[in-house]
Symmetry: C2
Subunit: 123 residues, 2 copies
C-alpha cells in the first residue's frame, strides 16, 4: 500500500513544464501533477473525462465552440470525453490531474509536446 502524498513536496521535486508526473492511483485512474506554462496543443480524449484541479496560478482552458474556463487555486473543472480543449498558462500553474491510466497526454493529437503514456513516471 502506498503512503500519503504531500502535494507541495511532490511539486517541489520537479521543474519541467507539460510533463505530468504520477503520484497516485485509484480505481484504474492516475493522480498526476503537472506544471504548465505557455500554451498546449488542442486535443481531445475520445473516451476519458479529465479533471483539472489548480493549486497555484491561473489556468485558462479553451474549449472548442464553448466559452473558456478560468481556474484559480482551489478550483477544478472536468473536461468531458470528446471535448477538444487547450490549456494556457500565462504564468506558471500547478495542477492536479485525474484521468484513466490509459489517457494519452495529448489525446488524439501527436505533437512534439507529447509524452508517451509509457514514459510518464511516478515521482
Amino acid at each position: 500500500m502506498r503512503g500519503k502524498v504531500d502535494l507541495a513536496e511532490k511539486f517541489a521535486s520537479f521543474t519541467e513544464h507539460w510533463t505530468p508526473k504520477i503520484v497516485g492511483e485509484m480505481n484504474g485512474q492516475f493522480v498526476k501533477l503537472a506544471k504548465l506554462k505557455g500554451e498546449f496543443v488542442w486535443h481531445r480524449h475520445q473516451d476519458e473525462d479529465e479533471m483539472f484541479l489548480v493549486t497555484k496560478g491561473r489556468l485558462k482552458i479553451r474549449l472548442r465552440d464553448r466559452d473558456d474556463v478560468e481556474l484559480g487555486p482551489g478550483e477544478f473543472f472536468v473536461v468531458p470525453k470528446g471535448v477538444e480543449h487547450s490549456p494556457i498558462a500565462d504564468d506558471e500553474v500547478h495542477v492536479v490531474l485525474l484521468e484513466p491510466k490509459s489517457t494519452a497526454h495529448t489525446g488524439n493529437t501527436d505533437s512534439e509536446m507529447t509524452v508517451p503514456t509509457e514514459h510518464q513516471e511516478w515521482i
Copy 2:
C-alpha cells in the same frame, strides 16, 4: 457540461458533518466534499479504492493492522479496496473524496451515520 467548481465556495455552503456532498463526476466516479468531526465507524469498501485529499484541518485515518495515516492540508491518501479504515477528526476537517459512484458511505458497515447512496446530493 458542468461548470468549474470553487472548493471553498462549496465548502461554505453546508455545515453538517459526515454527509458527503457531490460536486463533480468523471469516469464513473464522484468528487465529493465532506466536513468531518469526531470519529467515524470502521468500514471497508470491497471493490473500490477511496481517495482522501485534505484541504483544512488534520485527519487521522486508522487502518486495521497497519499504522495510522495523518493528513494535513494538501496531503492525500488512497485507501485501497478491502482495507478496513476509520477516519478521526479531533477538530473539523474539510476533505475532498474521490470514489466510484457505487461507493456506499459506510461500506460494509450499516450504522446510524450511514447516508444511503441514493440520498447523497449534488451541491
